[in-house]
């Protein structure tokens, strides 16, 4: 074994505090060290050439670079070794900059510490093994979970690069929450007008397969090779045969409240959720349909000329393979029933922002009139209450939902547009309008559409003489005020979907205390998850408005496409490995692994002459974090590049 030690001055970054010549001299005396020298900048081309030449001339077979953090230049020096003809994993870095010269001032002490650090690296590299990179094949298909605007954009972006996409949406139509909106801020385009072309784009795209009224029920495997089970719920209507003529739901005698219209309107037992639904194929609500509840009626089947109605359809589970998964499961509106003081549930005329959207929509339940649900009369004085659930650690969620200030400004604008005599009052805590043209939009709602903004919380809403009395504080004038309102609109925040944790556990991705999915890095990896090959977009990660949602969808698509363009994925060999002889199969590593990179397999134990279970690392998934090796009592699982033998040798060297 011939170890070479290369001590870097780093300009004066290191040599200012550490006597690098002294370090090199001490290093030369260490066991197995054949050569030690210093250079001004080891990472520079001549510095690397010095290492490469020394390897060739002096026959060095292991290298210690005593310089900066390995996170900076380990890759540089690995490449240098590779080019010089020795295994790139036979280099260790002794960090005498961040861990030494930058944090100490006493030159003698710092030099002493630098020598110790070099000693450790020499000890470690002497136990290093040549390692080789592995490759994982990539299934060139992408799964998009969720068919809202975020999933739609992701599917379109991936399909544009001509890779197959499968979209799974739990509702009978794609479109998500955006399909319910009337207009969009800050430009007031009609939501449907900008969304439906994209929905149709998905439906007509030959690279996209849609599974609506379907759910992902099981995910296994790893980046490049996910196996996913999708449950296609029984729609009771044949997707291939149906032409969307609408005869069935025209004749259906059963009326129930419409989820799409937030309970303000009615739908039939066989229905399409909204006129622009994609696919434009009805679904039978088996809980309401007379055929399924009482075995009577059967009208829809009689009127369907092409025989598309299929009462016998059953849930079907299909299994497909994917190389990457984009999670676009969206959000849920905060349930404000905890705010008793706002009178929701008690007073019909206290509604949510989503109700307002449906009322403002010309194809909505009120035909585009802003009315009082109690008596159907047009609402003139409307009070908007901000931060319902948001920024409230006691009753709601601690975070700001980011979109409510804007959609309330939009509602205030729309109110006046629908009725010149209407007046909007907005109770707010702060107006948060950080976005392109957002502040201007709010200003316009105030200046041009006459919305009155009152800074303060509402303490109570009660009924008096057919009106709602909203009592609140105006903290700017320091007075208590009461407003007689026809309608109160609550600006509910955005929270995680009910099944968010189930989805996260199925995908092995993390979620935070608000059950929102956690990105791999809050700044530098905002659409990645810790599970490689799984990406996040939209409000399932944090509340987002449409522009941000679309941007993250495109970002996630690029990340997925980045995988798709490769035939196989190069994988660093610094992964965990099980020693079957030592493994007792106790499953501790299997449970401790945050990446689900460990599986339990049966092996034939020749010594015991029987089969037994041991753990096995799925190399493609392992991130080399070392959790497994920390929980393994027998030291049966070891991380390459940080093996127990290497670490013990370091400890002994101290």
């Amino acid at each position: 074994m011939k170890i070479g030690v290369f001590v870097c001055h780093c300009g004066t970054n290191i040599s200012h505090t550490v006597d690098v010549e002294e370090v090199a001299k001490a290093a030369a005396k260490l066991p197995n060290v054949h050569f030690a020298t210093t250079y001004k900048y080891m990472c520079s081309s001549p510095g690397q050439a010095l290492i490469a030449d020394s390897i060739k001339e002096k026959g060095l077979d292991r290298i210690v670079v005593s310089a900066c953090s390995p996170s900076l230049h380990e890759k540089t020096f690995r490449k240098c070794l590779e080019e010089a003809g020795i295994n790139p994993y036979l280099v260790e870095m002794a960090n005498i900059r961040e861990h030494c010269s930058w944090v100490h001032s006493d030159r003698a002490q710092a030099t002493k510490k630098a020598i110790e650090l070099v000693k450790l690296s020499v000890a470690k590299v002497s136990r290093s093994k040549p390692l080789s990179k592995s490759f994982i094949p990539i299934e060139k298909r992408v799964l998009v979970i969720g068919g809202g605007i975020s999933g739609i954009q992701a599917a379109l972006d991936v399909s544009f690069a001509k890779f197959p996409v499968v979209m799974v949406e739990k509702e009978p139509s794609i479109g998500g929450k955006m399909a319910k909106f009337d207009k969009t801020f800050p430009t007031l385009d009609c939501a449907a007008c900008i969304l439906t072309p994209k929905m149709v784009g998905v439906a007509q795209n030959k690279y996209v397969t849609m599974h609506t009224f379907s759910e992902v029920v099981e995910v296994s495997g790893h980046v490049g090779d996910f196996t996913v089970k999708i449950k296609k719920k029984a729609r009771s209507v044949d997707l291939k045969k149906c032409t969307g003529c609408g005869a069935c739901y025209a004749k259906c005698p059963v009326k129930v409240t419409s989820e799409f219209d937030e309970g303000l309107g009615k739908r039939k037992a066989i229905y399409v959720p909204f006129p622009q639904a994609v696919p434009n194929v009805p679904v039978i609500d088996r809980n309401a349909c007379l055929w399924f509840t009482k075995k009577t009626c059967g009208l829809c089947k009689k009127v369907c000329a092409i025989g598309a109605i299929d009462y016998d359809q059953e849930d079907e589970i299909i299994e497909e393979k994917f190389g990457a998964i984009i999670v676009a499961t969206g959000f849920k509106q905060f349930d404000h029933s905890v705010y008793g003081e706002y009178g929701y549930g008690k007073f019909k005329d206290v509604v949510t922002g989503m109700h307002f959207e449906r009322m403002a929509n010309s194809s909505g339940p009120t035909g585009g009139k802003i009315v009082r649900p109690s008596d159907g009369k047009e609402a003139l004085d409307v009070v908007f209450i901000q931060c319902v659930g948001s920024r409230d650690e006691q009753k709601g969620v601690p975070y700001c939902s980011r979109v409510c200030c804007m959609y309330t400004a939009k509602h205030a604008t729309l109110l006046r547009e629908h009725n010149k005599n209407a007046q909007a009052y907005v109770f707010y805590i702060d107006v948060r309008a950080a976005g392109k043209n957002y502040e201007e939009f709010v200003k316009k709602a105030q200046d041009e559409y006459g919305a009155v903004y009152l800074r303060g919380r509402v303490s109570r809403v009660f009924e008096k003489g057919g009106k709602l009395i909203v009592r609140g504080a105006d903290t700017l004038s320091g007075s208590q005020i009461e407003i007689k309102a026809d309608l109160v609109v609550l600006a509910n925040g955005l929270i995680a979907q009910d099944d968010a944790t189930t989805i996260a556990q199925m995908l092995h991705i993390q979620y935070d205390k608000n059950r929102l999915f956690t990105e791999a890095h809050p700044k530098l990896a905002p659409v990645e998850t810790i599970t490689s090959g799984i990406f996040l977009t939209g409000a399932c990660q944090s509340p987002k408005d449409i522009p941000d949602t679309v941007a993250t969808a495109s970002a996630a698509s690029v990340k997925a496409l980045g995988l798709m363009v490769h035939d196989k994925l190069e994988k660093d060999p610094l992964v965990a490995r099980t020693n079957n002889d030592l493994c007792s199969g106790c499953k501790a590593c299997y449970l401790a692994c945050p990446y689900s990179a460990i599986e339990m397999v049966e092996i034939e134990d020749r010594k015991l002459k029987r089969k037994r279970m041991v753990s096995r690392v799925i190399e493609g998934v392992c991130a080399g974090c070392g959790n497994c090796t920390a929980v393994c009592r027998m030291g049966a699982i070891d991380v390459e590049g940080f093996t127990n033998r290497q670490i013990m040798r370091q400890i002994e060297a101290l």
Partner: protein, 278 residues
């Protein structure tokens, strides 16, 4: 009680519900007991049950993979079985657990403070006649020795343990009697790397005993076998009890209480206390 145990064992063997019953039989000295491995219904009369039934029979279960075993299990044996099931070392369907309620028999000193005399897991529970079911021991005393140690200064404690460990002869009896020490190759026997010295130096002894205690944290069911088996009388239970107390206080975790519970050190919960990380 013993009649019921014999009856059950006979029944199980006769009906071929199990291949073997593990219980206790009298040893050659006529007083103490040894584990009995009975594979025929005719031999069940050799089974005994009294205050000499000290061994943790869970220790033998791993020796018979694939076989159906009936096992006589005291409270602590049953807890050990739970941990072994949790750790994927046994198959529940291959076990018939004959739970025996103990405590009144006063098997050893630790039994006086044992709060859990009834098997945590069993297929049949055989009770002591004329005794109120599950009358617990005095739990208050369970940590008396640990608290006495905690009250002393760190240097004092170190000195104390150095003295105790200096007597260790590295016979590994503690390991051999422990149902949790089932590693295919103990860290004490490994050479690549050699985790600590194999010689009976204080340094190696210290490392061995402390490592074993750590490896039992969240797993030790306090059967007390290690301390009983130790030929030089090292108070090993004090170490284990300390870690048991920590696990209880920090994570509300009690080893051997549930098969479904995730092993303490293999699981992470975001509500886990973090204040000890400095």
């Amino acid at each position: 009680m013993i009649e019921e145990i014999r009856q059950k064992a006979k029944e199980l063997l006769a009906a071929s519900k199990v291949d073997m019953v593990i219980g206790y039989r009298r040893s050659g000295d006529g007083v103490s007991t040894v584990p009995a491995f009975i594979d025929s219904a005719q031999d069940v009369d050799s089974l005994v049950w009294d205050q000499n039934c000290v061994y943790n029979l869970a220790n033998y279960l791993r020796e018979f993979p694939g076989k159906k075993i009936g096992v006589v299990a005291k409270g602590c044996d049953a807890r050990a079985i739970v941990v072994l099931l949790q750790e994927n070392q046994l198959e529940r369907e291959n076990l018939f657990i004959i739970g025996v309620e103990c405590g009144v028999t006063d098997i050893s000193e630790k039994c006086a403070a044992c709060p859990r005399t009834v098997s945590a897991i069993c297929d049949i529970l055989i009770k002591e006649k004329g005794r109120k079911s599950g009358a617990p021991g005095n739990e208050k005393d369970a940590y008396a020795a640990v608290e006495a140690l905690e009250a002393r200064r760190a240097e004092e404690r170190l000195g104390l343990w150095r003295e105790e460990f200096s007597r260790c002869i590295r016979c590994y009896a503690c390991r051999q009697v422990c149902p949790m020490c089932y590693c295919p190759k103990c860290v004490a026997d490994q050479t690549m790397p050699a985790w600590f010295s194999k010689a009976t130096s204080l340094e190696g002894n210290f490392a061995w005993n402390v490592t074993r205690a750590f490896h039992l944290a969240g797993r030790c069911v306090d059967c007390g076998e290690c301390e009983r088996a130790c030929p030089v009388g090292i108070p090993l239970r004090d170490l284990n009890k300390k870690l048991e107390k920590e696990a209880k206080e920090l994570y509300k975790y009690e080893a051997g209480s549930s098969v479904e519970a995730k092993p303490l050190f293999a699981s992470y919960d975001k509500d886990d206390p973090k204040d000890f990380i400095k």
